[in-house]
């Protein structure tokens, strides 16, 4: 029981994030029924997990989305509302019985009309459905194309990610922190350097680049600064890039980022935006 507890208490974190495999999850759920300590941990970690969305950068959706959401909602039946339920019972009004024969003839004609109308509406509904299916098929094949394109993009992204992870997990990796300099006080960056696996450089809050300019990253060594690579931040001023480290690079004393002409320069010429302290 105690070894069971020691083993399962470790799984509480993955459990609240929904990442446990089903068999282990079932064991943990059973354990939680009898173990107040683990149940308490799970409760408190659930709240931690619930706070994680607060770390997400806030981005406004396109203004059209509001209208889309509301009209999509209008197409589905509102909850617990009887207003949308129609009944067929009131559609047929019995004919008054003044003259049975006349009524019978009228009824036959009416019945024929009803049948004709029903047939016509069935045909037109079939046509609509056929049109719908066609549209759906086109939609599905468009999505398939989309997915294939994404698959290719993801595969190349995955290998880029693997390269970046290799830097982070390399035995010889070390981290440098860069702080914003006078042109960009609010900027910051972290660099992970491994002479065997490469450089991973993540910067945030950099000012937008003027036309024809690029940010260039430098290793500060005993001699002249050595270029580490170029970097173009996104619209939010953030960038993450992986670079190959020059094989003969001595452990750098620090790093810096300067603003340079497009294409980069052999030695820094522009203002320094980021530097290690």
């Amino acid at each position: 029981m105690d070894t069971e507890h020691d083993e399962l208490r470790e799984a509480c974190g993955l459990y609240v994030l929904g990442a446990l495999d089903p068999a282990e999850q079932a064991r943990l759920v059973a354990h939680l029924r009898t173990c107040d300590e683990c149940a308490g941990t799970v409760d408190s970690l659930r709240q931690v997990a619930a706070s994680l969305p607060f770390a997400v950068p806030q981005v406004a959706p396109s203004p059209e989305l509001r209208g889309r959401v509301l009209s999509a909602a209008a197409r589905v039946r509102p909850p617990r509302s009887g207003a949308y339920a129609t009944t067929a019972t009131s559609l047929v009004t019995p004919a008054p019985r003044r003259n049975r024969a006349l009524a019978a003839g009228w009824l036959a004609a009416a019945a024929a009309t009803v049948v004709a109308v029903a047939l016509w509406s069935q045909v037109s509904s079939l046509q609509t459905r056929l049109g719908d299916s066609d549209a759906r098929l086109t939609d599905v094949s468009r999505r398939l194309d989309d997915s294939e394109r994404r698959l290719q993009a993801s595969t190349s992204e995955t290998s880029a990610v693997r390269q970046r992870l290799a830097v982070l997990t390399a035995a010889d990796a070390f981290e440098l922190r860069l702080v914003g300099q006078p042109p960009a006080r609010q900027a910051s960056a972290r660099a992970f350097v491994s002479s065997t696996r490469g450089l991973l450089f993540a910067a945030s809050n950099l000012p937008a680049l003027p036309a024809g300019r690029t940010y260039q990253i430098w290793y500060l060594t005993r001699g002249a600064p050595i270029s580490a690579g170029l970097m173009q931040p996104d619209a939010q001023g953030n960038a993450t890039e992986a670079f190959v480290v020059p094989p003969d690079l001595a452990t750098p004393a620090g790093m810096a980022v300067s603003l340079e002409p497009d294409g980069g320069v052999p030695a820094p010429t522009g203002a320094i935006y980021l530097a290690t302290q």
Binding site: V56, V69, L165
Partner: protein, 194 residues
């Protein structure tokens, strides 16, 4: 163990949100519109962080609000806030999208995993929320990198235990311990900063 931040969220939005849900149960679309105006940006931002594609994030946002509209009568205030309910649905829907794609886009090493920027809060974000945002980011930043990656891969990328171990190239047991320690450390940080 309850956190003050939950109380903060409660006091800033729950009363209005519950009223909005009550109107939705009556079939009043204005309730939905009010909920969207208050939290649409938050829902969209979480969806975008997970699916990393604007069009997909908008689809997820639409699905979330339609689901909330249809199932308004199933909301149980005893189990948490309206926002918490919506974010749970958002994460589930967004991770569904990732899994339907069959492949995962960049998981780490991209901007969001390292993001330390402090955005101006939108009109829909109360001041208390903005403050909470800073606290959660600061707490995340304080984690050792690999603890943080393990937590983020599970929460934002929907990776399973085995997938995280593969991505980080560490044994399964190490992932377990890292995630647990990461979350416990976040818990202590967040409790301390409230």
């Amino acid at each position: 163990m309850s956190f003050i931040w939950l109380a903060v969220v409660n006091s800033t939005s729950t009363a209005e949100d519950r009223e909005a849900v009550a109107r939705m149960i009556d079939g009043d679309q204005n309730g939905l519109a009010a909920l969207y105006d208050r939290h649409g940006r938050f829902v969209y931002s979480l969806a975008l962080r997970i699916v990393r594609d604007q069009a997909d994030a908008e689809d997820v946002t639409q699905d979330v609000f339609v689901q909330v509209w249809r199932q308004a009568d199933r909301f149980d205030p005893a189990r948490g806030s309206v926002v918490g309910w919506m974010l749970t649905i958002t994460r589930a829907r967004a991770i569904d999208v990732l899994r339907r794609r069959g492949t995962r886009p960049a998981s780490v090493g991209d901007v969001a995993a390292f993001d330390t920027s402090d955005d101006t809060p939108g009109q829909d974000m109360q001041i208390a929320w903005a403050q909470r945002t800073r606290e959660v980011r600061t707490a995340l930043d304080s984690l050792p990198l690999l603890q943080r990656l393990a937590v983020e891969l599970a929460f934002f990328d929907g990776l399973t235990h085995a997938q995280i171990a593969e991505q980080l190239d560490v044994p399964l047991g190490t992932v377990k311990t890292r995630v647990r320690h990461g979350l416990l450390r976040l818990r202590d940080r967040l409790a301390g900063s409230s």
